[in-house]
Symmetry: C2
Subunit: 185 residues, 2 copies
DNA sequence: TGACACTTACCTACTAGTAAGTTAGTATAT
DNA sequence: ATATACTAACTTACTAGTAGGTAAGTGTCA
């Protein structure tokens, strides 16, 4: 049963979103799966190994949504915002973005995980810049616009708003998205 | 020595910024102060009590910067951005905003702390909306602008960018601030 | 004398991680 | 066909360390 391994990764991803990396435990994970803690150690010897596997899982998810958006039939100028909406969809109720959760614990993590999180964060920017470039070529964005700076604003505000959403409710987040939509016109 | 109490609060604030609420410990705090763990329990019986005290400390700091900005001699249209810059100044190197750190642990915290964090988050929005209203009256903002939505965008993006800053460096953050400056023109 | 600010010594619960043993299934050689 | 050898996927039982929290005692100063 190799899908026990991906089952653990998936459950860990959920736990990271809800509690953060340092606050979830092998014991809790094991109880949720109905196996022993040692069984999870069999698949992922150290917590760090599981962490790296989850980072790779997130990276794949990010890449998939990128390709999906890139190849989609919608207009190029709508793709940056569509990409953001697609990414949000993957986040369950009351769950923060897993990348944000990992960033929050960043300083306590091993070097291997820090490098992975750095890669992930940079990839988020790069992917959005690429979609913005396509949108610009189709004439929807002001040519004076610094696309990297714009991507940074879009990502930062989305991630920040997801944090506030848990505390202040859906309404906060929707108002933010409306502002972003306006900004991309 | 009543300032031992505020000494503990100050150190806890620093610890929350670096590790988050669930990941700092009384033991670690005690060692940093050169006292025993039980001594901290004497001042703050439960960790929750210390957490609430820190929230109140943050709330006071937020209020102080607000009053300082409100009463400052600079032009009203520059006050929203000046307020954000002042708030960032209080954050030490590699430290995330303490409110963001508390939001990240939100779901694991007691109801008392959740309520405090909710108050704090709402206060951030309210204070910025107030400064934006003053700026609008002095003619620097488009009258069509929804000020609450703008405040939400400013706060979200600042908080989000502070997270990325730890991982991707100062440059990321500066680019974000430049975009916000542009947005407020 | 008694309140204040502690310390010492402890408890229980939980953490990551490990060692050794078990079970079921597979591949191979005779 | 069957014994042998091996592997995957576990479990049981443990370690050492750390977490929050408490009870009882100590020194000090008004």
């Amino acid at each position: 049963m190799t899908n026990r391994k991906s089952q653990i990764i998936e459950l860990t991803l959920k736990n990271i979103q809800e509690k953060g990396f340092t606050s979830f435990s092998y014991d809790h994970l094991a109880k949720e799966l109905g196996v022993t803690k040692a069984s999870i150690h069999y698949h992922f010897e150290k917590k760090e190994d599981l962490g790296v596997a989850v980072c790779e899982r997130i990276q794949k998810g990010l890449g998939d949504v990128y390709i999906l958006t890139k190849e989609s039939a919608i207009a190029a100028e709508e793709k940056p915002f569509a990409f953001i909406l697609q990414r949000i969809k993957f986040l369950e109720q009351n769950g923060v973005c897993p990348i944000s959760a990992l960033q929050a614990d960043y300083q306590e993590l091993s070097q291997a995980m820090q490098e992975k999180i750095q890669q992930l964060s940079q990839m988020e920017v790069d992917v959005l810049v690429d979609l913005l470039q396509d949108a610009k070529q189709h004439g929807s964005l002001k040519s004076t616009e610094d696309l990297e700076a714009l991507a940074i604003l879009l990502i930062s505000s989305t991630k920040g708003a997801l944090q506030y959403k848990r505390v202040l409710g859906e309404d906060f987040f929707h108002k933010m998205l409306e502002q972003l939509k306006e900004l991309l016109k």
